[in-house]
């Protein structure tokens, strides 16, 4: 592995026992390779998450094979852990349930919260590992106060801090993200210099348990009832129909057509129970604020105080927008400096530090 000598050292050189979660993709392959290069005692694991009771038949055996082969190439042990029942319970069932309530959940965040950085992290501890590593593009830092920080990955286009924004001190103390300092090109260069079979593998884009061919609609249609609904404008006048109210998202433009003035129409409100979708103009479909109920709010370290400035990001690769954090009864109110397209209920809002915009401060789930 001489080719990696020039790579930046990602973490301390004290050898640790590290369990690395290998998805079969290039990032986690290189994460494992870097840890081996740094002299740690590394064991790879691939989670079998899908194949539970509500499996649609898709299969990730090829990804497991890739991960295992990379582990062999690196000379490390590899184990497959079957967490499919937990995944079904903690990720898939809530995903379906949230949609049935007309909300738009983020299953990747729930998987990170409940599976990777909970069940797997616990397991790593029981098996005597000092750290759990993943291939996420994010960085763990330490503030002068000793507080662990979660920071954006070095490659802005690949940054995954959003899907990790619910991590807290306990988890951050025990995780490493070896590729967080690297650009994707650098990651691929290391993989190809080591002849890892995942070097040219395309990035995964979709929700892992939803088949690329049939898509979200078919997945949900197999697991819940989808109901047609009327579409009305702000004055309650009929403006069309949709055939599945549960799949309509606030702020959505697609499928809503144009108003009488010829302007595009946006979804401003979804009422699943009443089977009604309300649409309006672009101007109607902006919000000055979003409420994050306390139950879904987490802080990386010290919480933001009422009146604190912050930067909000409302999707995995969304544009960060300046905001002020206020406390609102039993939740956090995020007031945007400039009105924004509405945040769909169920969507995660990640909050970054206003002064240090790479640092995640916390996250919440939109009401």
């Amino acid at each position: 592995m001489r080719s990696m000598r020039s790579m930046r050292s990602v973490h301390s050189v004290r050898p640790m026992r590290v369990l690395v979660a290998m998805s079969g993709g290039v990032d986690s392959s290189v994460a494992a390779a870097l840890l081996v290069e740094q002299g740690h005692e590394v064991v790879g694991t691939t989670l079998k998450l899908w194949g539970g009771p509500s499996d649609s038949g898709c299969c990730s055996v090829a990804d497991v094979d890739d991960a295992r082969r990379v582990a062999q190439q690196l000379g490390i042990e590899h184990h497959v852990f079957n967490l499919s029942e937990e995944f079904d319970r903690a990720v898939v069932e809530p995903y379906v349930g949230e949609h049935a309530r007309g909300r738009t959940p983020n299953p990747c965040i729930e998987c990170n919260r409940a599976i990777k950085f909970d069940r797997l992290l616990e397991r790593a501890g029981r098996l005597g590992f000092d750290r759990l590593a993943t291939g996420h593009h994010a960085r763990v830092g330490r503030a002068g106060s000793g507080e662990w920080q979660l920071r954006r990955g070095a490659d802005g286009a690949k940054d995954q801090s959003y899907v990790l924004s619910m991590l807290g001190q306990a988890a951050l103390a025990r995780v490493v993200f070896p590729v967080g300092d690297m650009t994707k090109d650098e990651v691929r260069a290391v993989a190809s210099s080591l002849h890892l079979r995942t070097a040219a593998k395309p990035d995964s884009q979709d929700v892992c348990f939803i088949g690329r061919r049939d898509g979200r609609r078919a997945f949900l249609a197999d697991r819940m009832a989808l109901h047609p609904a009327e579409v009305v404008d702000a004055a309650g006048r009929p403006a069309g129909r949709v055939d599945a109210v549960e799949l309509v998202t606030v702020g959505q433009r697609r499928g809503m057509g144009h108003g009488s003035d010829g302007a595009r129409r946006y979804v401003t409100h979804v009422d699943v129970a009443a089977r009604r979708v309300t649409v309006g103009s672009a101007a109607d479909a902006v919000r000055a604020a979003v409420v994050l109920p306390t139950a879904g709010v987490t802080w990386v370290g010290r919480p933001l105080a009422a009146g604190d400035r912050a930067v909000a990001q409302v999707s995995a690769h969304g544009r960060p927008v300046p905001c002020t954090v206020l406390h609102d009864g039993d939740g956090v109110l995020v007031r945007f400096d400039d009105p924004q397209r509405p945040v769909a209920p169920g969507q995660t809002v990640a909050l970054y530090d206003a002064e240090d915009p790479d640092a995640v401060r916390g996250a919440g789930i939109a009401a």
Partner: protein, 388 residues
């Protein structure tokens, strides 16, 4: 990976190749070896070695050499037994009804499932809490329509020995037209199959569970049996299994069987004593360790199946492996992940307890030190997993 003393307690998954087998197989290739179907001297030699091996396999099973079909392993043998019988029955213009126990190996269960997809009527026979097939349910299910009854000689996970002679009796009395198939892959190192499987129509074996090579198996198919080939070609193995025979594999299997037969009684006694020692040692030192099979039930000498409360078998097996103890936790799926055991489910083992299922399987070369190390290491590993 660190090298440390290893206790290999996973013989039921695959047994170490016996040195005598390796030597016999090397000898096969030490001189020119032709295709057994050819005419020249190297071909004649290949054919002679193959038929000598067949004679030995037949002697081991107490059968006629003409019944012995060499296959690529136990799985192919099971597929041939189940699907070959079903297809023969369908071709004969009739229906096919297959009864198989609920604890059969996936090679048998999935073959039955494939037969069901092809139109056969496949039914599962329940087992009791020890995993023994319910003979009353069998009696009720037997009729003049039944084509095949599949009951394994002993279970691969628990080692529980099935009442094969009773199964044969019941079938002969109530469904004389039906064939009986027994998967004897696990039983072969331990039981005298010439006696135990007498009267059984179809018997499958796998060489690598006996200290023979991986990739060789046998289906012994009785003369009164209609069986359609699953693999077509040059008509080898009396048109029951086409493809050039693996002579070295057949010689390896025959050599392993010879060694097994010569040492069966002494090996079984020695291994059973060590297994009991392991069982007592672990039960005494691990709180919440349950014997999956109640005492008093006949189990193969090498098998010890335990359920450890409050432990995940995935974690246990990884941790044990890192401490040099090789054990197993049930069947894996295509990805290599552990699956829920259909055997424990059929026995009614509570789900939480089955999560801590572990199989130790001892074999011909298991020494006292292997057991001593396991008795020392396993409780410590379990305690460490439970502590955190």
């Amino acid at each position: 990976m660190r090298s440390r003393p290893t206790s290999y307690l996973d013989h039921a998954a695959t047994a170490p190749l016996r040195p005598e087998v390796a030597a016999a197989m090397a000898e096969v290739h030490a001189e020119p070896l032709g295709n057994p179907t050819g005419t020249h001297p190297p071909a004649q030699r290949a054919r002679r070695l193959l038929e000598e091996a067949r004679d030995e396999v037949a002697a081991f099973l107490g059968r006629d050499p003409g019944e012995v079909v060499f296959t690529s392993g136990g799985t192919e043998a099971a597929n041939l037994a189940v699907l070959g019988s079903v297809e023969a029955a369908v071709r004969a213009g009739g229906e096919a009804v297959v009864l198989c126990s609920a604890v059969e190996h996936p090679a048998v269960r999935e073959s039955a499932r494939a037969a069901a997809c092809a139109g056969a009527d496949c039914r599962e026979l329940p087992v009791d809490a020890a995993g023994i097939v319910d003979l009353n349910a069998l009696a009720r299910a037997l009729s003049s329509r039944v084509t095949l009854v599949a009951v394994m000689a002993a279970n691969n996970e628990t080692g529980v020995v099935q009442p094969l002679p009773d199964v044969v009796d019941a079938v002969r009395r109530r469904a004389p037209q039906a064939a009986v198939f027994t998967d004897a892959v696990q039983a072969a190192p331990w039981l005298d199959l010439a006696d135990r499987a007498a009267g059984v129509d179809l018997v499958s074996l796998s060489a690598h569970k006996l200290g023979g090579p991986v990739g060789t198996g046998v289906l012994a198919a009785g003369p009164r049996l209609a069986l359609r080939a699953r693999q077509h070609g040059g008509g080898q193995e009396r048109e029951r299994r086409s493809g050039t025979q693996d002579v070295a594999g057949a010689v390896g299997l025959a050599t392993a069987l010879r060694l097994v037969a010569a040492q069966r009684v002494s090996t079984a006694a020695r291994v059973a004593a060590r297994r009991d020692q392991l069982c007592e040692g672990l039960l005494a030192r691990i709180e919440g360790a349950h014997r999956t099979v109640p005492p008093g039930v006949a189990v193969l000498p090498g098998h010890l199946h335990l359920c450890l409360a409050g432990v995940s078998r995935e974690e246990l097996l990884v941790a044990l492996g890192r401490e040099g103890i090789c054990a197993s936790g049930g069947s894996s799926c295509a990805s290599g992940a552990l699956e829920r055991s259909h055997v424990l489910a059929a026995m009614g083992v509570e789900r939480g307890l089955a999560e801590g299922a572990v199989r130790f399987s001892l074999g011909y070369d298991t020494g006292e030190e292997d057991v001593a190390r396991a008795v020392e290491v396993v409780p410590a590993v379990v305690a460490a997993l439970r502590r955190t």
